[in-house]
């Protein structure tokens, strides 16, 4: 096999790769927010790791007078039971983020699989039944359904994760199904078929990555909602139970004495906000880059 002499083909000069400068500029746009978001998240994770290890105070027991204002000894003050708010707030980082991660990952995986399955299945009955179920679940606000399920399961963080898995998958499934139907029409799926690739190869190497990139991006922005939902449920007394250090539960415990002491409520609230902002930066940065790739 001889190669075509490059010298004979000067006409292709018109369509070279874009110059490196342009590529760098385009990348910068999405990356700045991504770096800020990941930086904020890492800072939070490091603090969540170091504070419980290095703090002289335990998280769950009284270490001083109740409602001591922030000072050199108690940086964030003490709460109504005399516990150190600083230690408690950062101890809650891994609990809150961990539960949120599970609360996103499980529905994300379930929903993506079910959604793609619906898009490729030939069975009208399966499609009809599951699609109706998805629409029915999506018709209710997530919080209402979650509360109803937790009422059945009994309060606790396991119930929160379970309730999220049972309800939130429908949102991912709807997204994945729509996306999979669109992707199925794209040239590369047809190309994969015409190149003689097997059905499973086309499905797993070409369809799934193009759908899961979309649901994962949605999952990242969903992290914010799920963190708020978990704190919200704990605030209502349905999630983390006292004396567990959890942001929502801490805010709930401190709210009755808000006039005397703002610190037991404000610091967990600030960290909740911090985590939310970090994830929204990451989600926005990723979807920005995603748009660049897809365009």
């Amino acid at each position: 096999m001889t190669l075509v002499n490059a010298g004979t083909a000067d006409w292709f000069d018109l369509e070279g790769a874009p110059p490196p400068r342009m590529q760098a500029k385009r990348r910068k746009d999405g990356t700045l927010g991504l770096i800020v978001g990941i930086g904020m998240l890492i800072a939070l994770l490091i603090m969540g790791l170091l504070v419980p290890m290095l703090s002289p105070y335990p998280a769950d027991t009284s270490v001083g007078e109740p409602f001591l204002p922030p000072s050199g000894t108690f940086w964030f003050g003490t709460d109504g039971l005399g516990r150190d708010v600083f230690t408690r707030t950062f101890t809650a980082v891994y609990l809150d983020l961990g539960v949120a991660l599970l609360g996103v990952l499980i529905p994300l995986t379930l929903g993506t699989i079910i959604g793609i399955g619906l898009a490729v299945t030939k069975s009208r009955a399966v499609n009809g039944i599951i699609s109706t179920l998805i629409d029915a679940i999506n018709a209710f606000p997530l919080l209402v359904l979650a509360i109803a399920l937790i009422a059945l399961l009994g309060p606790g963080l396991q119930s929160v994760i379970f309730a999220l898995a049972l309800t939130n998958w429908a949102r991912y499934a709807r997204l994945a199904r729509t996306r999979a139907v669109v992707v199925n029409q794209q040239g590369y799926i047809e190309a994969a078929k015409t190149l003689g690739y097997s059905k499973s190869r086309t499905l797993f190497k070409h369809l799934v990555p193009n759908v899961s990139s979309e649901t994962t991006a949605y999952g990242l922005s969903d992290m914010i909602l799920v963190i708020l939902l978990i704190s919200g449920l704990s605030f209502l007394g349905l999630g983390a139970q006292p004396p567990t250090a959890e942001w929502g539960a801490m805010i709930s415990e401190g709210r009755s004495q808000l006039q005397i002491a703002w610190w037991p409520v404000m610091f967990p609230g600030a960290l909740l906000l911090w985590a939310g902002v970090a994830f929204s930066f990451i989600a926005e940065g990723i979807s920005q880059r995603e748009r660049d790739v897809k365009s």
Binding site: V4, A6, F12, G187, K205
Partner: protein, 340 residues
């Protein structure tokens, strides 16, 4: 580089399409015919142009060559597509596996969504190359580079690790052509490969297809609605109208001495030969709706030479009007004086 050099000595035609009927089964009794019927051959190492307006069935004929009619819920109702002696209309999925990619390559219409956006160019081509059992694992990357070079992509070592979004439309289509020829097929079917591309880029893609033909003696089927674009590249042209072939012949005959009113009309409406200041010539009337064809010659409502017998009976079959030149017009003798 034909897969079976012995056969090319004995048989002249790589593909022979006889009375091909393609349609959609809408209900148990209701069939919508899209192609009825197509008749033409594709020679070895020949570039065949397939020309026709939207709805003429040219894409459906292409799809029957690569077995993807089902994606559009269409199927073959009759006729044969003989590829190297094998009837493609009778193949099952298992049989297609050995044909698609290996023996028949396909360049899709949509250059912009052709390559998978979440895989690098190198990975995608490697996937196609690896299907060809002849290429051993250590040589895959070498072969991919060779392919990128073949389709004239500059700096292949950079493009290898780039994502499709970083490439221009022309480059993406070149990547798709590289994928289509990766397994050394006998024939490449290119369904309007230059849709949405710049005119200069179009010319480049055409030139590339021509090079591939002479380099590897692959046959190429080039589908287009643009007669001007393909008449410089093709050896022969098949003109399709309303689901049937109305004229088949060497490019010089079909483009310069057309023997069917539809081809004549197509030729007159070419933008590249329109005189400045004068209104553009169009074909009068609208193309008949798919499957709802008039009886007799399906062009009779738009033709300047319609006679009594043009409007009755079946669609007229192709007949010889010159060496290798076929026309489906019943009154080719009338066309002579007013052609020009």
């Amino acid at each position: 580089m034909s897969a079976n050099p012995m056969l090319s000595l004995t048989a002249t035609n790589l593909v022979e399409i006889h009375d091909l009927v393609i349609g959609i089964q809408r209900t148990r009794k209701d069939r919508l015919l899209i192609v009825d019927s197509a008749n033409f051959d594709i020679g070895r190492a020949e570039i065949l142009g397939l020309v026709g307006e939207s709805g003429s069935g040219k894409t459906m004929v292409c799809r029957s060559l690569i077995g993807t009619l089902k994606r559009r819920s269409a199927s073959v109702f009759g006729g044969t597509v003989l590829f190297d002696g094998m009837d493609l209309t009778k193949l099952d999925e298992k049989g297609w596996k050995n044909v698609r990619g290996h023996r028949i390559g396909y360049v899709p219409q949509s250059a912009l969504t052709g390559p998978n956006p979440v895989m690098t160019v190198g990975k995608q081509l490697a996937e196609a190359v690896r299907r060809n059992r002849k290429t051993k694992a250590p040589n895959v990357k070498k072969r991919v580079m060779e392919l990128l070079d073949l389709v004239h992509i500059r700096r292949p070592e950079i493009v290898y690790s780039q994502y499709p979004s970083q490439l221009s439309g022309g480059m993406r289509q070149r990547v798709m052509i590289a994928a289509a020829i990766a397994q050394d097929p006998d024939i490449v079917v290119a369904d309007e490969p230059t849709t949405g591309l710049d005119v200069t880029v179009q010319a480049g893609i055409m030139k590339l297809l021509k090079e591939i033909r002479s380099e590897f003696s692959m046959s190429v089927v080039l589908v287009s609605h643009d007669l001007a674009l393909i008449d410089e590249v093709c050896d022969r042209i098949v003109v399709m109208h309303a689901g049937t072939c109305v004229e088949v012949g060497p490019v010089a005959d079909v483009a310069r001495r057309p023997m069917h009113p539809y081809t004549i009309a197509l030729n007159r409406s070419r933008i590249d030969i329109a005189k400045p200041g004068e209104p553009l010539v169009t074909i009068k009337g609208n193309p008949p709706a798919v499957g709802d064809w008039p009886s007799g010659c399906r062009f009779n409502e738009r033709c300047d030479w319609t006679q009594q017998d043009c409007t009755v009976g079946e669609s007229p079959p192709l007949h010889s009007v010159g060496p290798g030149h076929l026309s489906a017009c019943l009154h080719t003798d009338l066309l002579g004086e007013s052609r020009g």
